[in-house]
């Protein structure tokens, strides 16, 4: 089946430069299938997803509010030795970023001695003055992180984004694995793959470990903005898997100094809120007044240490794309270590010299707003029209703080079923990291794939799909 496969010049995760499979066992098992088989399996998978209602919502999409999650049956493999390195790199990064958050909302050493420019941090829209002087239980700010990694042409893995707010996608990691076992069981034969099924258990443990000290047997809930949110499937999936209540804002109320939920038998205290709504909407008395998704008075209870919010409000400042450029320095500053995982080189438009560089190299850079996610507001310099580049340049001049530039990377590819053939499609990788008493990294993570030829935009809101991700325990990369 892999016979006619043509690489496209990027690093390919399955086939190396001389056309030899990196994982011989996996390749030979894939080769036992023909395209007719594969097409049938692909259909079975899609049918299964529709029946199970595994969907995501796309804002502004007119064809109903839900779309089935696009899934590709060819897995993306990672050798375990390489994975170990990634895991250590992520642990290091998360440890440093939490120390950074503790510091910028506390004594501000790193700003006072100029290692990170004070202005850059304090002017970030995601900096929350209300959190100053507050320290969450055990100093954990980012209970759940979904770091975006990419592999460039040179084969090196880079951190693209940190995603420290409400990263989503982990439910698809679990569902993809389940689906693969159902539709392509033979591909698993003889392979030893790191399991992912224990994630909900780890997540629940993390939430309980970071509960307020005063809570005896902590009650955790998941706070969702509701069924029209693009990640609603994930919210209900995780709540069900952990056996905790899924609540909406109006289910919660502040009474007697605690957060409580309204039940058929009266109010019941809540100790930990795994919140999947943004800081802005958490508490209309503290942030956006017009929010109906949050809980009035929540922040006051939070600051009194009577409820834990996961993730903590204010973490957004550490995944601001301009602050991102300083993460290697942040790691060095707090841990005295060099970063294990490199950053993508980043030009901060707030620095005049770097801004000039970005403006004169728009045709070869990716330009990103510093405070957006989901691939919104991006400019892909090489493929954009002159008019798009001009509009972007004007936006940068108007507010340089809002923009960064990065060289255009060539994301690695994985063979992907398109039509009746296997073709290379670009992928990224989002591992999930939990921080409670210690730092747990889920093996593998979510591999997102850009289904359009040549596209590097993998976001599900913009035509991306996903693949199962295998950390190979017993197969050596060649």
């Amino acid at each position: 089946m892999l016979e006619g496969y043509q690489r496209n010049g990027a690093f390919d995760e399955l086939i190396d430069g001389s056309g030899v499979p990196r994982y011989r066992g996996l390749a030979s098992r894939l080769n036992t299938l023909n395209f007719t088989d594969l097409a049938v399996r692909q259909k079975t998978a899609e049918e299964h997803l529709r029946e199970k209602g595994i969907t995501f919502a796309v804002y502004g999409h007119s064809d109903g509010t839900e779309k089935v999650w696009p899934f590709d049956v060819v897995p993306r493999a990672i050798p375990s030795a390489e994975w170990n390195q990634v895991e250590r790199g992520l642990q290091q990064r998360i440890r440093a970023l939490n120390l950074f958050l503790d510091d910028v909302y506390g004594p501000k050493h790193i700003l006072n001695d100029g290692t990170v420019p004070r202005e850059l941090v304090l002017t970030a829209k995601t900096y929350r003055p209300v959190c100053e002087g507050f320290r969450p239980p055990k100093g954990v700010w980012t209970h759940i992180t979904g770091t975006d990694l990419v592999r460039d042409k040179d084969g090196a893995i880079y951190v693209l984004e940190d995603n420290l707010r409400c990263p989503s996608g982990v439910s698809y990691v679990l569902e993809n694995r389940e689906l693969m076992k159902r539709v392509l069981p033979e591909v698993f034969l003889g392979a030893s793959i790191a399991p992912v099924e224990h994630y909900p258990e780890q997540l629940l443990k993390t939430l309980v470990q970071t509960a307020p000290q005063t809570a005896d047997r902590p009650t955790a809930v998941l706070l969702s903005p509701g069924i029209y949110n693009s990640a609603y499937f994930e919210h209900s999936f995780l709540a069900q898997q952990m056996g905790i209540e899924l609540v909406f804002g109006p289910d919660l109320v502040v009474a007697d100094g605690y957060v409580q939920m309204r039940t058929t038998t009266g109010l019941q205290r809540v100790d930990v809120i795994y919140r999947r709504i943004d800081d802005d909407f958490l508490d209309p008395k503290c942030f956006r007044e017009d929010s109906v998704l949050g809980v009035p008075g929540l922040m006051e209870v939070y600051k009194a240490g009577r409820v834990t919010l996961a993730n903590a409000p204010g973490t957004g400042v550490a995944d601001d794309k301009a602050v991102y450029a300083y993460v290697p320095k942040i790691i060095k500053y707090y841990l005295g270590e060099d970063a294990i995982l490199p950053n993508v080189p980043t030009y901060i438009c707030d620095e005049p010299a770097e801004c000039d560089y970005v403006l004169s190299h728009l045709h070869e850079l990716v330009v990103k707003p510093t405070n957006e996610s989901g691939g919104y507001g991006l400019l892909m310099g090489p493929t954009a029209s002159q008019a798009e580049r001009d509009a972007c340049a004007a936006a940068i001049r108007a507010n340089p703080r809002n923009w960064i530039g990065q060289p255009m990377l060539t994301l690695s590819t994985v063979p992907t079923v398109i039509g009746d053939g296997l073709v290379p499609r670009h992928v990224d990788l989002r591992p999930f990291i939990l921080y409670g008493d210690d730092i747990f990294v889920l093996p593998g993570g979510l591999t997102r794939v850009a289904l359009r030829e040549g596209s590097m935009i993998v976001n599900s809101s913009q035509g991306g799909g996903s693949k199962d991700t295998w950390v190979m325990l017993n197969e050596l990369a060649t």
């Binding site: 199970k52 209602g53 069900q240 109320v253 100094g257």
Partner: protein, 336 residues
């Protein structure tokens, strides 16, 4: 459990049951109409949606009425709308449903959508589609029995299902009443027996009725569907079982009156125990059914205020004047 969740599971089941009963309505009317003059208007009258119907259709043709009852999204009680609302409610509380229960509701909805995609063919010959709707509903009920813990959520689901069913069985009886009214001379004729049999068939009651009463007589059929203690679609059965579930929820002995809702249940149950079929016919079947439907609606409102109503809570913070919007709790509810 959360009030909102209890509300959703209650309505989820009401909508599933409602969809099944609309299918039963249409089915019985289809059978009654074949070999006679088709009468579709009574169906719309019995569901209480005649105003909405006249606004959008006008003529009570077979096709108009079927389209209205099966696939009209503007009709909140059409099979399509019910399937949609049931799924919407289920999706909102997916984390408390068993995986297979969610899947069976999702499949229900997908099947109805599928029928909608071939609506012209379905309207020509709706039988197969209606069968599929009934079977899907039974599947949901079976999966609920077998995979959901019989705790609070299950009892709320059951109360919703039984109250809806009681209401709809009474309406099916009413359809027959409307159809027969202009031709009272038919009573006891062959045609009459055919029609009453069709009615029993549509409530899956024919065999059970035969075993209890043998010959088909209008009064006995009414007695069976209203007063039988063991038949699961009979009014009395539904009320008794719903009351049992309600007392499981409140944790009080059956019949003990501790609130307006327990009081209403006790009263309705007593009425069904003491009334005879002769009383009902003397009073007028239609009048009795009207009264019964009022009682069921009353129970629905009492259940809402006892368990689901999220009154604004006095917070300890004096400055708080935020009133919680109740609209988000009722947005997927409509009552017929």
């Amino acid at each position: 459990m959360l009030s909102r969740v209890a509300n959703c599971i209650y309505w989820m089941n009401r909508y599933i049951e409602r969809a099944e009963n609309v299918a039963r309505f249409v089915d019985v009317n289809q059978s009654i109409s074949l070999g006679g003059t088709p009468q579709w208007a009574p169906l719309v009258y019995a569901s209480g949606d005649e105003e909405l119907f006249s606004k959008h259709y006008g003529e009570f043709s077979t096709e108009n009425v079927l389209r209205f009852l099966l696939f009209d999204e503007q009709n909140p009680n059409s099979i399509l709308s019910c399937a949609k609302y049931a799924r919407e409610n289920a999706r909102t509380i997916r984390e408390i449903l068993s995986v297979s229960l969610w899947e069976s509701i999702n499949r229900f909805y997908l099947r109805v959508r599928d029928g909608m995609a071939h609506s012209d063919a379905v309207l020509q010959n709706p039988h197969q589609f209606l069968e599929r709707v009934k079977r899907s509903s039974h599947q949901v009920i079976g999966v609920t029995e077998a995979t959901l813990s019989h705790g609070e959520a299950w009892h709320f689901a059951r109360v919703g299902q039984l109250l809806e069913r009681a209401d709809k069985t009474s309406r099916i009886l009413d359809v027959k009443y409307f159809i027969l009214l202009p031709a009272a001379s038919h009573v006891g004729s062959t045609l009459d027996v055919v029609q009453w049999s069709a009615l029993l068939e549509s409530t899956s009651a024919l065999h059970a009725y035969r075993k209890t009463f043998g010959r088909i007589e209008p009064k006995s059929v009414a007695q069976f569907l209203i007063l039988d203690r063991n038949f699961p679609r009979a009014l009395r059965f539904c009320v008794v079982q719903a009351q049992a579930s309600l007392h499981e929820i409140t944790g009080t002995p059956i019949g003990e009156i501790t609130s307006p809702v327990t009081e209403r249940f006790a009263a309705l149950r007593t009425q069904l125990r003491q009334t005879t079929i002769n009383d009902i016919f003397n009073q007028g079947l239609h009048e009795f059914i009207d009264g019964f439907q009022d009682s069921v609606n009353g129970l629905g409102s009492e259940i809402f205020s006892a368990f689901f109503d999220t009154k604004p809570i006095e917070t300890t913070d004096v400055a708080s004047d935020q009133k919680i919007s109740e609209s988000s709790f009722s947005q997927t509810q409509t009552q017929s």
